[in-house]
Symmetry: C2
């Protein structure tokens, strides 16, 4: 399947999912993309599975109504809590963040000990543990909720003594439970902004190098495997259409995650 005239749909609880858009545009430059950030109800990470599922279904409905050929759940919390419901409700394929992230982590680990950091809701769901156990039951997974990392990334305090102190506390708690962790999954779209401090601090706390993986690149690769290249490869770069449910700080934050100035968001009411 691949109708190049139909866009890929990407949704996230906020603007962090633009890291997935960025990876997708690098991997599949000819594809049109429709993005929805549910910024009026962000964050999902502190909410219950029922609420996350309800909001995620509304986001997917919006994308399906725009004729997307593929739905990508950039939000780890939504992937962890609502993937089955989203797949059941979608006539097109749905790619979540957890499975590609789990696959990338399994490719990286040597010790068979993987650490996952994410929101409260992602960690509570046990989704990474399940995705990894389904592929490699012998691998040990330790997950740590890190509620302060999202506001740190949004403040832009990504490389200073407060970021280091927060990273030390969270990663220290995780490594105290499993000393052999050699791979760390950034299980939240905001965390790549803190990749530098997380990589350095993980190595410092573990006393050896720790491989850090995130799901954005792995998700783009999964999309490339589903979408066979169009028969006549299109030369023109695809269009990017941005939607959000609230306007606050959109452009400022979006530029940070997308890696370029966004073209402007259209406000929608779900």
């Amino acid at each position: 399947m691949n109708d190049i005239r139909r866009p890929i749909g990407v949704f996230d609880s906020g603007v962090g999912g633009l890291t997935v858009v960025r990876a997708l545009r690098a991997a599949l430059p000819g594809e049109d993309i429709v993005y929805l950030g549910d910024t009026a109800r962000v964050p999902y990470g502190s909410k219950s599975p029922r609420t996350v599922e309800r909001y995620s279904l509304a986001c997917q409905r919006f994308l399906l109504d725009r004729g997307v050929k593929l739905v990508m759940i950039a939000c780890n919390t939504a992937s962890a809590n609502a993937l089955d419901a989203l797949r059941a409700a979608s006539p097109v394929p749905v790619i979540g963040a957890v499975e590609p992230g789990a696959t990338a982590a399994l490719a990286a680990t040597r010790s068979g000990d993987i650490g996952v950091i994410g929101t409260l809701a992602t960690v509570r769901s046990g989704a990474y543990e399940r995705a990894i156990a389904a592929r490699r039951p012998d691998v040990r997974v330790t997950a740590q909720a890190c509620p302060l990392l999202v506001p740190l990334a949004e403040e832009g305090w990504t490389d200073d003594e407060i970021a280091v102190a927060v990273a030390r506390r969270y990663l220290g708690q995780m490594l105290a439970r499993d000393q052999a962790i050699d791979t760390l999954v950034l299980g939240c779209t905001h965390y790549p902004l803190l990749r530098g401090v997380l990589t350095a601090t993980a190595a410092e706390v573990a006393g050896r190098s720790v491989t850090v993986v995130d799901s954005a690149t792995a998700m783009a690769e999964a999309a490339r495997q589903i979408l066979s290249p169009p028969p006549n490869g299109r030369a023109a770069p695809g269009r990017l259409e941005l939607h959000a449910t609230d306007t606050s700080r959109l452009d400022e934050l979006a530029a940070r995650f997308l890696g370029e100035a966004p073209t402007g968001f259209e406000l929608v009411d779900l």
Copy 2:
């Protein structure tokens, strides 16, 4: 006015508003209280005025449908962005958080220089500046958004080196703009949990003692002024009815703000 059979309604974006319930129960022990925390859409503080107003109106509608005789907006962000709309839509009196907080700050300041800390949306609204200027145009107000304080309070990291480093950075930014600040308004229901570290750090950064005020007590006092005591003062303590729009972490967080174990929340869909 005071029909003791009708409850007081209190709403907040989450559970932080239980600090207001606590003050209200101390000031008016015989009154029944209906509380609504919009935990499915928390936080309001990072959202636009339009979205905050829409969500606040839905919360107030819920309380009015339950026959409340008075609406109290425990959430500073909602008070700062939606007070006029809420008053226009309510047949009963509406007490916000900003005006009582401003009054308390004016009573405390000697230098005439007041600092306000709150969410992004509260600070951007300029509501404290307006409320203070309307009473004392000669007083200077400096406001500072502190997005990390809410997750710090929710993590329970309220008295350690990370809390101190974060408080130092925010209060340092504020005091760099006005060295004469002698009064600090905690313009968010979560901040009283950090009162110790904020008080100590403000004094340290300013180089002298700074009076810290919050709006919970001032709001309870404003309610007492509106509600004349019932003709036959009721002996029995009033009932507290708790509602929330999402269940995640409710009981754990609620106990921290209420100062006692909550009686259980009823889940509602707005």
